[in-house]
Subunit: 286 residues, 2 copies
């Protein structure tokens, strides 16, 4: 496994590499969710590149950029064990040298929910992803389903900019009690950690309501809201179109239940896909 630090080093390392080239973009502090991305890339691609870069552009003022967990040595060991061919770990000055000014804005899908709570976040995500895709010249890029809005943003950007990259979304990895793996889970104290699975239970309740025939969004959401009790404080809980993150009036197509809640200073996110409502209108009329 080769560790590279600059775009030129990445390109040298990948010259003549077997195709497809799969990229796993990460901010490091790797957990089993990241390693599921690596494993799927390894299974599907001749060449696997993983990036380790805590991207300042996607953090707002007062967010946790400075204290975001870093674990370079153990991350590298995990990537090597996962069969990664090339690691790209640039420093901030390499990614954003003096004079850097360009940004990629994904538009509406990046303004809702996470984008509303974190202004500029998805512009930072889109910008760094376009850079990473171009640097690696990758054919596929692997993202976790836990960050569903991020995946929707990247898919929007890939389509809109005609990027020759296929987005692969890998299912969320969860703890046995349902909590989605996240590098930010290390911020939780014992009491918060014990309460955290309620976020997933809320989403499951929304999913059950819809699959049992609830087509009214407000009532479906209310079914989940009952789970979001102190010490959790809801940031949002909703049912949305998984591509646009627009909330439909009637839940009669595949939708996504999304949620975010604060536990002390830490905000967690999660989502559950709802494939096919059982009693959607077009089925009722048959």
């Amino acid at each position: 496994m080769q560790i590279t630090r600059t775009p030129a080093e990445v390109r040298d390392a990948l010259r003549g590499a077997g195709r497809p080239v799969g990229l796993v973009p990460t901010m490091g502090a790797l957990h089993a969710g990241h390693l599921a991305l690596v494993a799927q890339a390894r299974a599907e691609c001749r060449t696997v590149v993983a990036s380790l870069f805590v991207n300042p552009l996607q953090f707002g003022p007062g967010e946790d950029f400075d204290r975001y967990p870093r674990a370079f040595e153990s991350d590298v060991a995990a990537l090597e064990a996962g069969g990664v061919d090339v690691v790209y770990a640039p420093d901030v000055g390499t990614m954003y040298p003096p004079g850097f000014a360009t940004s990629v804005d994904p538009g509406d899908v990046g303004e809702r929910y996470e984008g509303s709570l974190r202004p500029g976040h998805f512009r930072g995500v889109a910008t760094v992803c376009v850079k990473l895709f171009a640097t690696a010249g990758c054919d596929r890029a692997y993202f976790g389903a836990k960050d569903a809005q991020q995946a929707a943003v990247i898919q929007r950007v890939i389509e809109d900019l005609n990027l020759p990259v296929e987005l692969i979304v890998v299912p969320t990895v969860r703890e046995p009690d349902g909590l989605a793996l996240s590098s930010r889970n290390v911020y939780l104290d014992v009491e918060q950690r014990a309460a955290a699975p309620a976020l997933h239970r809320a989403l499951d309740a929304v999913m059950r309501a819809v699959t049992h025939g609830e087509t009214d969004r407000d009532r479906a959401v209310a079914a989940g809201r009952a789970e979001l009790t102190v010490p959790l404080h809801e940031a949002y809980l909703d049912v949305v179109d998984p591509q646009t993150f627009v909330s439909p009036e009637r839940l009669d197509a595949p939708v996504l239940a999304i949620a975010s809640a604060w536990l002390g200073p830490t905000r967690l996110i999660d989502n559950v896909p709802i494939e096919a409502p059982a009693h959607a209108p077009h089925e009722i009329v048959r």
Copy 2:
């Protein structure tokens, strides 16, 4: 020569194409300036792609998108005669399908001069160029020196997004009286056409002032301003850094004289590079 209409057709046409692939992005209504781009691309690249697309994103409200000259048949004939391998001529709905939302913003260099007169113009230019580069998978892209700020914007975007594309800037082609070729020259009536070369004379006057030792920007500009008389009305006349389009206080490095003037409803632009001031401070002290 193959004419393609969609990104998929471009990619099919270029599968296994000889490298380097050179792209000449145009808005059609081709003149000898465009054909100089084609000729240089043909001389330097194994495969040459030219695009014909009047990009609505780079026109503001009230600008000349609707009446911008279109000449598809003669453009295609000229590109064929110039040895182009693949023409990409999408319609607007193919370039910007329903749901399209992403934009590429080049930052400060796109806010000055043309960007100030045409808000959003360079965001539209940057967005369509990133799309065209990705669609063609080109190694080189050829732009005219006449649109100097456009070239600076594209260079900024290429560097910032790590795009694997080399920008080639081809010298401006001029009429015998000095007027830079432009698709918009057809808008000029006989009187305006007769007055138009004053724009280039103004730039030449600035260039001569600087090469004769003028290091003060205001005095250098004043030397050119004397040429911009009725029926021309100055939009701007300045000396700038050719990369950033920031105007230096003292003209002691290679700079660019830039100008724009109105002739009736038509606004022309032009520029003249000033390679090395004769009496720049670092030379005076020798």
